[in-house]
């Protein structure tokens, strides 16, 4: 008689494993069917609604973010299974530093914990061969988080199957400013090299060569090359959870032609059906877009 509870537990454990396997198998079949149509190469997520989720379920604040992290892992799994190569997530905005210090600190602690866990053998990084980039003004992070991020980038640098871009201490207008500054530096380096051949003495403030040349050098391609996000193509789809329909200073430069989706679900409630809906919409619009692209 004493064995019975143990047997029941083992059986129910076995059954739930079986259900999981069936579910996984059906999901992969479904993905096979969907991939007969065009699949987006880059999906971006604004993971909004963790705090509201915690409030809704009467949990303490930090639990919302933890639930959000689980939802993220599931979404990444679905994306990579479906064949999407690039996934970008808005983990922490420069604007978020203005929140209450306790919340900022607890977010930093959570991020440190999760960044470190990416290096573990069982992590999703190893399962899918993910190359990880941390995009943002990393100097604004504390030393520990920054060091962990750099370690992960270095450790995954050789992976090439799929890519995860984590925007942390990020802000699109800041990204553009940094790219412009870099373009200016590059240009003045070029001009100096040019100037060294041409002139003996130069005023150190003004580069001394004609401005038209200078202007020609700052082309669209210069700024784009110097954007941190240039390691990935522009996103095909941007999904923002919790029903808010705004960009919140995320990927402004890159989302000029991106399909925007804003499901009402809070981020921890996001699931496979939202991804499928977004991809099917993408496929529906794709033929119209291809036609318009040909008109250009």
């Amino acid at each position: 008689m004493a064995e019975l509870p143990g047997q029941i537990r083992r059986m129910s454990g076995g059954i739930s494993q079986l259900i999981e396997q069936i579910y996984g198998f059906s999901r992969r079949c479904l993905f096979r069917v969907i991939s007969m149509g065009p699949i987006p190469s880059h999906l971006a997520f604004i993971m909004d609604g963790n705090r509201r989720y915690a409030k809704k379920h009467g949990l303490e604040d930090g639990s919302g973010h933890k639930a959000g992290f689980s939802a993220l892992m599931s979404m990444l799994q679905y994306c990579y299974e479906l064949g999407i190569k690039y996934v970008t997530i808005y983990a922490f905005s420069i604007d978020n530093f203005r929140r209450q210090p306790e919340e900022v600190q607890s977010l930093m602690d959570l991020m440190l914990e999760k960044i470190k866990s990416l290096l573990e053998k069982e992590s999703i990084v190893h399962q899918y061969g993910i190359r990880v980039y941390f995009i943002g003004n990393l100097a604004l992070l504390n030393d520990q988080v920054r060091a962990a991020a750099e370690k992960v980038m270095k450790a995954t640098a050789k992976n090439s199957r799929v890519v995860l871009l984590i925007c942390i201490a990020y802000n699109s207008t800041n990204e553009i400013v940094q790219a412009v500054k870099k373009s200016c530096i590059n240009t003045s380096d070029n001009m100096e090299a040019y100037g060294n051949d041409k002139h003996e003495d130069r005023d150190s403030d003004i580069e001394g060569t004609d401005m038209e040349n200078q202007e020609k050098r700052i082309q669209l391609v210069d700024i784009e090359e110097n954007m941190q996000m240039s390691v990935a193509p522009n996103p095909d789809i941007l999904i923002r959870s919790s029903g808010e329909t705004r960009l919140s200073n995320f990927l402004l430069w890159q989302t000029g032609n991106t399909q925007l989706c804003s499901p009402a679900s809070l981020w921890p409630e996001i699931g496979l059906r939202h991804l499928l809906w977004a991809v099917l919409n993408f496929q529906r619009n794709n033929s119209y877009l291809e036609k318009r692209k040909k008109q250009l």
Binding site: R98, C184, I218, L247, T255, G256, Q259, Q295
Partner: protein
Amino acid sequence: MPRHVAFILDGNRRWAKRAGLTTSQGHEAGAKRLIDIAELCFELGVHTVSAFAFSTENWGRDKIEIDNLMSLIQHYRNKSNIKFFHRSEVRVSVIGNKTKIPESLLKEIHEIEEATKGYKNKHLIMAVDYSGKFDIMHACKSLVKKSEKGLIREEDVDEALIERELLTNCSDFPSPDLMIRTSGEQRISNFFLWQLAYTELFFSPVFWPDFDKDKLLEALASYQSRERRFGCRV
């Protein structure tokens, strides 16, 4: 009430097709609709209305359509519209690349801008041959020129400085609070990029010529129900 409302006027051609009219008639209905909606917005207390009339990417369309679009822009300088601008004291600005626009049209644009530049309380901004990327690029080039002349240092370059060089610097409120796009497409299509950082977006399924007062009120009601946090907790 939002201070600045932006519109992507999408769906004129599809509206015309559905109504059995020509594309040109579709654009004409669209042009008229813009004036009506702008007037409504100003009555409701909106200060700035901007509209994506013609994108840099639209040059790829066929010549007849481009001619139609250009003649539409001329529509804005017809007598009744000019009367409206002066009667309601609306300042009109046209922003965009302007290099491919015919000389005669440019002259007319300049005339309207000059004639209305004194009006302070209402502003209609038409984005013609505009591209968000072009705007940012042009701001950067302008900054590079200034740093060449020693007017600014490269380390001074920050977000505020770039914003002042954007084409929307003609406005007191360069960033829209609300942006409405019609015809159901859910994308920005390279309209304002920098300026839309915190803008509430509203996508309406109707075609632009059908976007009437009810639809506008619906969009404004949606805007008013939103909680704008700008990254922080309110």
